[in-house]
């Protein structure tokens, strides 16, 4: 009853002369508002469950963005690993449970079907690929509600960042107790502290500041800008650094219009330095 009065007052303010419309509006608002608490981003790890043996798999960060639930019809989006796909389907309330079956359109190689249930504020369920010849055909997930707001101040947590996809064998000969031993060790690119110490979104870089950074540092600094804007990374070489960061929510596959002037300038400079590092760091030259 309270709600109805509130709606009447609001609509009176805007359209005093049409009382009939008040009832129509309120009925629609109430219908779509029933699951409004479910609207928004649901985020968690997208864990490979059924996959081809021996293949390299990665558990990416999945975001299911619920846009609207009208009647039983659900409109949503799945955002994972650089792929943003529309989702449509239905919500089922039978047996006092809240279950969803949502489908991706099927015109993308990696499309599939999501089936999940709301249990204790968590969306728990599975995804099954349409194409059963894919490397990963089934994934599981537990998603929690996440807010996303762009914040230029957020930083990567303090950590030792290694590029786990850069493994290079290097043969090491060591003498222990007068015995010479030769073994192969994997060498990984390591990032410096700069990746969590300098902010690439609020501080305009000078060349001098970037000169002593390695290519991996430059790449991470540049991609932290995109991560702050909620960009979903296509390359797992970049996902590996951000998927585990609490503030990182993949929400979009295009941030071009969102970037600030400082960020655009920094990206330009970082790209230039990345190219120089790639061409020159370990070659005969300066």
């Amino acid at each position: 009853m309270k709600k109805l009065i509130l709606f009447s007052i609001i609509s009176l303010l805007f359209s005093c002369n049409d009382n009939k419309k008040v009832n129509d509006d309120s009925s629609i608002v109430e219908d779509s508002g029933k699951y409004k608490n479910l609207y928004g981003f649901w985020v968690g790890e997208f864990v490979a469950d059924v996959y081809k043996e021996g293949s390299t798999i990665s558990n990416n960060k999945l975001n299911i963005a619920i846009k609207s639930i009208i009647g039983k019809k659900v409109i949503a989006q799945s955002i994972v690993a650089g792929n943003k796909r529309p989702l449509t389907g239905e919500i089922d309330t039978a047996n006092n449970r809240l279950t969803f079956i949502l489908s991706e359109p099927g015109d993308d190689k990696y499309d599939g079907k999501f089936e999940f249930e709301l249990i204790d504020n968590t969306l728990t369920g599975t995804w099954t690929a349409y194409d059963q010849s894919l490397t990963v055909t089934k994934r599981t997930f537990k998603l929690e509600r996440k807010e996303f707001v762009y914040n230029a101040e957020v930083m990567l947590p303090e950590n030792q960042y290694l590029d786990q996809y850069s493994g290079q064998d290097s043969t090491i000969t060591d003498t222990i107790d007068n015995e010479t031993e030769t073994y192969v060790e994997k060498y990984y690119r390591a990032a410096s502290e700069s990746v969590y110490e300098i902010n690439s979104s609020t501080h305009k870089f000078t060349e001098e500041e970037l000169k002593n950074l390695k290519k991996l540092d430059l790449e991470i600094l540049r991609n932290t800008i995109f991560a702050r804007h909620g960009y979903t990374f296509k390359k797992r070489a970049y996902r590996q650094f951000f998927d585990y960061v609490d503030w990182y929510v993949p929400v979009t596959d295009n941030v071009d219009t969102e970037l600030t002037t400082i960020e655009k300038d920094n990206i330009k400079l970082l790209v230039r330095f990345e190219k120089y590092a790639a061409d020159n760091y370990d070659t005969f030259g300066r």
Binding site: E208, K211, D282
Partner: protein, 210 residues
């Protein structure tokens, strides 16, 4: 004894030719002229804020490669005895290029070098010594002091050769230790030419003794 020397000079020629070609390849990156070519990619601050930087940088790039050619001709005993004129003209080209183009431009860009004051000091010192040794070699020649001329030209060329040794040390250090770019730069700034001078000084003294 003579045979051993021949092997040495053939080895030197092969070694030198290989690295000369690499240097030529690096120089060719600056053709056509561009304000953002190769190394200049990380020097845009200097390019934008210092009027003469770009011109002086290019003077250095184009002239310095010419200073390596004497490595083929000027110390070769065969050419020295049979083609004295070639030695003379090549020598003039070397001296004029070093004294008026490569060394002064090297000192200028050395002042704006990457790697902080330690690297800047090294490159400016290198340029100054290169200039001085070359002039001293010519003064010795004017006084008809051939032995001294040869010694100072060896020192001068040892410094010119740092163009190659500096880059060679970089490859070795990066391969072994994967240091940050400017950390390695500060090291090679010195490692590029000091050992060269020590080696040539050793060779000069050894020759003097025997």
């Amino acid at each position: 004894m003579l045979k051993k020397f021949d092997y040495l000079s053939i080895a030197w020629l092969l070694f030198f030719s290989f690295f000369f070609l690499l240097m030529l390849q690096i120089t060719l990156r600056y053709i056509p002229f561009s304000a953002e070519a190769s190394f200049l990619q990380i020097k845009q601050t200097e390019v934008d804020t210092l009027g003469p930087y770009l011109s002086i940088f290019y003077i250095h790039v184009y002239s310095a490669i010419c200073c390596l050619i004497p490595g083929f001709t000027q110390f070769n005993s065969f050419i020295l005895s049979k083609y004295k004129k070639l030695h003379k003209y090549m020598g003039y080209v070397y001296v004029l290029t070093v004294v008026f183009l490569a060394a002064p431009s090297g000192i200028y860009i050395g002042y704006y070098a990457n790697g902080g004051w330690l690297a800047q000091l090294s490159f400016m010192l290198l340029g100054t010594l290169w200039l001085l040794f070359t002039i001293q070699a010519m003064t010795a020649l004017k006084n008809r002091h051939i032995k001294l001329h040869r010694e100072f030209m060896l020192r001068s060329f040892a410094l010119a050769f740092s163009a190659i040794t500096l880059r060679l040390w970089k490859v070795i250090l990066v391969y072994l230790f994967h240091p940050a770019p400017m950390d390695v730069y500060q090291i090679i700034a010195w490692l590029g030419w000091i050992p060269n001078l020590l080696v040539i000084e050793y060779l000069i003294r050894k020759k003097y003794k025997s």
